[in-house]
Amino acid sequence: MVFSSLQFILIFMPLLFGAYYLLPAKFRDSVLFAGSLCFYFVGTVHNPEHFILFVISIVLDLYIAVAIEKFQNRKKLFLAIGVLFHLLCLATCKYSGFLFGEINKIAPSLDLALDIVLPIGISFYTFQGISYIADVYRGTIKAEKSLLKYGVYISMFEQLIAGPIVTYRQVRKELYRRKLTIVKLIKGIEIFVFGLGLKVLLANPLGKLWSQVGAIGYESISTPLAWLAIIAYTFQIYFDFFGYSLMAIGLGKMLGFKLPKNFDHPYTSKTMTEFWRRWHITLGSWFREYVYIPLGGNRNGTKATVRNLFVVWLLTGIWHGAGYNFILWGFVLFLILVLEKFYIGKFLDSKPLAGHIYMIFLIPITWAVFAIDDIGQLGIFFSRLFPIFGQGFWSDFRYDYLKYLKDYLPFFIVGLLFSTKLPYKLLKKIENRIIIWVLLLAVLIASIYCMCRGLDDPFLYFRF
């Protein structure tokens, strides 16, 4: 069940929020936990074993953390058990299919091909579980004693399947004491509807152009169309994920939780380093806190820093998916970040124009590596982006780009606009006026209309 579905908006939300607000406060945790489990069950209805795995991981986390706290002399062992459990589940579900597929290509006689369906949200709840166990191990938080509270924390439906990656520390206070106010509820609805609009009215249409170009085949597109397509994907992935995160934050607010911000105008960055501080902020923080710093961060000299960055970006790459392109993508980001850290970062920071031009060029290119999972196809796509390497500038269909530009120009303009800070500043100015409600109502109606027409599609980040 996705947030941008009629099923979620017209059935799940009224039922859950109805029970959550109308029943006495003491039942709120139970309502939220049960509702979130229902939400997850609907998503895993064809693979109920995923649901069982999820429940097991919740119970295991709770008692592992309790054991870490109780048996201080053996806490390392319990930490290892907890982390290994999560990593093994993640690796088995996410990477074994790819790995066996590759072995099968080399030795088909072994017949190792496996078709493993990735459990929804496993990349996210695994990271939350690890962060919780690690924090208890480090003593930065006390182990949660209530299974219900911990269950609510991990399973909260609004962040369960595509983040933001919330740490226990961030929501502990609200797990025990959260205030529901009409102001929060209204604000939450506003944020939710705005996120829904970004997803349904902007990301989906732009994503269609990217799909269309895939259906044409990269070898048959002109260079301008290749650029249009990758820019469309650049906007799609942003508004898709940003929209989703906003919906999650809005729902969190409606439930009385303050979820962390996941995006901070990443496309206005001057360097890739800055970009990754502004893009999927909760994932970046997780890797910094639970991988980069434990490895030594930048405290042990240049060589060790480069090694640590390499590890973090390789892991970031493969966290996003099982495929050679994700490894390559992580490696490319690592190279760019090292280059910026030691050579050009300061220059780009001090010269905003140069920084923006550099990023306008670099962002779509790195997304191309991310988006195209077949390395051969990726090569063809790059030969279209840069015709100097390939078969020329145009395609058999001479003005292909004009056809698509005509259809998609309004979406590109709105996408560009909403990538800057300007519209958000304007919205801030009118946030308490009635006009904002008129606008959001229009967005809601338009979004529901598109959903009814079947123009919604799953979130990109659900496959991670």
């Binding site: 429940v55 004693k145 269950g151 799909s211 895939g214 070898e219 597109i221 395609s395 058999d396 269909f397």
Partner: protein
């Protein structure tokens, strides 16, 4: 263990138990034997028909190495997104194309279409104002959801309309290409069994004199009779690079038929 945790744990245990029973009971979507894809009697007849040289039907076998030289300046292509692909990528620049994405026998008279060199016209306007020698129709994939009998009546009316306005034109009814197995298995409407049935019905219009049936259904199929996955990016449409081949195949078949 405190009482509250015991209660939660017990509830979870019951939930997991129910889900586990459900897991055992549910029918996992399996690879079911594709009985739907069994050739219909009607289709078998056509296949049989095609084993001997036919004057009504031409069947896809191989793709011509070289295009046959035949004038296409009197040709009109009518069709949906797949014909749009022919228009854009096949390089048949002399012909006219009355095609849009989603075009079907039910909506062909609904909206005017921009025909290059002619302007925005309705279908009736186009065929009553310009004379064609060859008319290619590739419609059907968007009509699969409708009642076949009703659709065929509409199709018959459509062909009659063309014949009345273009008495000297040859009409080539093109079969609908298959979709991939993935699409076929997951789509109750657009699947290869339905496409085969539809094509079989289309082939009945051929009279061997002025109306011919081009059976290119299997041209881009895999060994199992589904559109080959390496020839499509969206499970339904050919990659652009194949439209040129397909167009040349049509031209070659036209030349062969007309020479006969």
């Amino acid at each position: 263990m405190n009482r509250s945790n015991l209660r939660t744990l017990l509830s979870l245990f019951i939930v997991v138990g129910i889900v586990a029973i459900y897991a055992v009971l549910i029918d996992k979507p399996e690879e079911k034997p594709d009985t739907d894809n069994e050739p219909l009697t009607q289709l078998s007849e056509i296949t049989a028909l095609n084993t001997t040289p036919s004057t009504t039907t031409t069947t896809a076998t191989t793709i011509p190495a070289k295009p046959v030289n035949i004038s296409m300046d009197d040709a009109l292509f009518i069709g949906d997104s797949r014909t749009v692909g022919i228009k854009e990528y096949a390089g048949i620049n002399d012909a006219d194309f009355f095609c849009t994405v989603g075009l079907s026998i039910y909506n062909i008279h609904k909206n005017p279409v921009d025909v290059s060199g002619v302007g925005k016209v309705s279908f009736t306007q186009l065929i009553s104002n310009k004379k064609y020698g060859k008319i290619y129709i590739t419609l059907g994939i968007n009509d699969l959801g409708y009642d076949t009998e009703k659709t065929m009546t509409k199709y018959r009316e459509f062909i009659d309309l063309i014949k009345n306005n273009q008495p000297n034109a040859y009409i080539f009814i093109q079969s609908n290409l298959h979709v991939t197995q993935k699409r076929s298995d997951s789509d109750e409407v657009v699947n290869n069994a339905a496409i085969n049935r539809f094509n079989a019905a289309l082939s009945e219009f051929a009279d061997g004199k002025t109306i011919f049936y081009f059976d290119s259904t299997g041209l881009y199929d895999d060994a199992n009779g589904n559109l080959s996955t390496d020839k499509t990016g969206d499970d339904a449409h050919l990659y652009a690079k194949y439209y040129s081949e397909w167009g040349h195949w049509m031209i070659t078949q036209t030349a062969l038929l007309l020479n006969k």
